[in-house]
């Protein structure tokens, strides 16, 4: 009976191909959507891990910039500066446990690219947000002109990169985060000040005349015990002019809400595709079995049991769905893995592909779902086949 199911599938190549195609589409859609949702959630987790500070203080005019959240939160290209005096005033605020300044600069053209690279300067002695992350890839102290590059920059340890004509040395490459930090470069205060100065001298800094020794872009603050971030934020916003203090959680909640919305839509789409696929499979099996009623009646007459007939139908369904789901998972992998950068750009949200083990789990789940759907869709037809009245069918009355 097992070989009969295989022979039936081989004997009707068009019918088998249609079933395989349907199953492949169902698997590709379910697998692709699940991996995208998982990548978005992993990306958000990575962004949350990278935050590290309770509060961010930026110049007030920076908050009017279009991509302001992405600049401070994800390392998107853009820069702004505030006077050092304002930063010192902020540091006087009660309830601050740790504070460290950061400097932003976007290169206009680095070696080969017409697209700017975001350069983030931090003070290794006071920093508590970037240093723990950098330390995973680079244990030593950054020297002058040393830069640590994000994982998606096409530069490797030992390479040289030019920013504004200043040659910098790549000291380390960071782990992937799924955010714009992956295409940013990180360096110490000494180097970033030199780069800002060069950009001003070469009139390539859109802010205009900036004195790098008297300016910072952003202050990262951790709140001391006994104080809440809200208290400190309110205190800074009330007493220090021309700056804006923002809670990190507040910034990330926007990204989190967008992500929840996207995941919900994708979830609904998965369910809709699965239901539609199931209905189409039920219809396909019903039509196919109706056409083959005489074939099953003959099998019954020559001695096949009722359970045996139902078994043939179920085996045909499971085999075609298994083949289709393998093809579908292959298509899903061929689209998701190589084009993950493009998908990330389309989504505009942090996007980090799950590891190989996780991907295998998604593939197995999609295969199981497809085979179970096929078996469920064929179950009704199998039941009908097992109850056929051979006499009526062979006489041609029905």
């Amino acid at each position: 009976m097992k070989s009969l199911a295989v022979k039936n599938l081989k004997g009707k190549p068009v019918r088998t191909a249609v079933l395989i195609l349907l199953s492949a589409l169902l698997t590709a859609a379910v697998f692709g959507a699940s991996v995208i949702v998982s990548s978005l959630r992993t990306g958000l987790g990575s962004l949350e891990n990278r935050l590290g500070a309770d509060i961010m203080v930026v110049p007030y005019e920076a908050t009017t910039q279009k991509k302001f959240e992405n600049i401070v939160l994800q390392g998107a290209t853009g820069y702004f500066y505030m006077d050092n005096k304002r930063a010192e005033q902020v540091m006087q605020t009660e309830g601050i446990k740790q504070a460290s300044a950061q400097y932003f600069l976007a290169s206009t053209s680095s070696s080969c690219c017409s697209v700017a690279v975001q350069i983030i300067g931090f003070d290794p002695e006071t920093d508590f947000t970037i240093t723990p992350w950098v330390k995973k890839s680079y244990g030593s102290q950054l020297k002058k002109y040393d830069v640590v590059v994000g994982n998606d920059l096409n530069a490797f340890v030992g390479d040289s990169i030019q920013f504004f004509g200043v040659e910098c040395h790549v000291a380390a490459k960071l782990e992937r985060t799924g955010t714009s930090f992956d295409t940013a470069a990180f360096t110490n205060t000494e180097t970033i000040k030199e780069l800002i100065n060069t950009s001003v001298v070469k009139k390539m800094n859109s802010v205009g005349d900036v004195d790098p020794d008297n300016a910072v872009s952003c202050l990262m603050i951790n709140v001391a015990e006994g104080y809440t971030p809200e208290q400190v934020v309110n205190d800074i916003n009330l007493h220090v002019k021309k700056v804006k203090a923002i809670r990190s959680e507040e910034l990330i909640s926007g990204v989190s809400q967008s992500l929840d919305g996207v995941c919900e839509v994708i979830g609904i789409m998965i369910a809709a595709v699965w239901l539609l696929g199931l209905v189409i499979l039920i219809l396909a099996f019903t039509m196919s079995i109706n056409e083959r009623r005489k074939e099953f009646a003959v099998l019954r007459v020559i001695g096949a049991s009722r359970a045996g007939l139902a078994g043939i139908v179920l085996k045909e369904a499971c085999l075609s769905c298994l083949l289709g789901s393998v093809v579908g998972a292959g298509i899903g992998l061929l689209v998701i893995i190589p084009f993950n950068g493009f998908i990330e750009q389309l989504m505009g949200l942090p996007f980090l592909l799950p590891g190989a083990g996780e991907l295998v789990k998604y593939i197995l789940a999609a295969l199981a779902l497809s085979v179970i759907s096929g078996a469920l869709a064929a179950a009704v037809s199998a039941l009908r086949v097992s109850r056929i009245d051979t006499g009526v069918i062979l006489r041609g009355d029905n």
Binding site: S109, C112, S114, D152, N154, P338, G341, E344
Partner: protein, 138 residues
């Protein structure tokens, strides 16, 4: 030495020609590399990778087109075999043989490179399948 082509062989030859033509047209249009620098008008390295892929894809399209018309079965097998190294070479062009742009979120990395690799490897796989199903060609 002339032999009648099987339907399977004809379908595979058409698939090979479609894939090669898609690579040649696509790399110059819908999955092309980055545009030139807006300030200086200079082309970036990825443009030259795109041109190299275009050249190799045109050669593969010509080979697969020849397969449709060549009557000798052995010659068709030889042509199919030649597609395998050429397609692997094409897959290696973006970023392995010719450097692409610095940021991997740029179009040459996110669109051109994966599209070229996927289509080239599909051509290699289809050529291998062609060799297997026609191994007894005279």
């Amino acid at each position: 030495m002339n032999s009648k082509k099987s339907i399977k062989a004809l379908i595979m030859e058409i698939i090979l020609f479609i894939l090669s033509a898609l690579l040649a047209v696509g790399v110059m249009t819908f999955f092309s590399a980055c545009k030139h620098k807006t300030d200086t008008g200079m082309w970036m390295a990825c443009h030259w990778a795109q041109m190299a892929v275009f050249g190799a894809a045109c050669a593969m399209a010509a080979i697969s087109l020849a397969m449709l018309f060549v009557k000798s079965g052995k010659a068709r097998l030889g042509l199919a075999f030649s597609l395998i190294p050429v397609s692997i070479y094409t897959a290696l062009i973006p970023n392995t043989l010719i450097n692409l742009c610095m940021k991997t979120d740029m179009r040459c990395h996110t669109v051109m490179k994966p599209a070229v690799i996927v289509i080239s490897l599909l051509i290699a796989a289809a050529s291998a399948v062609y060799l297997v199903i026609n191994k007894n060609e005279e």
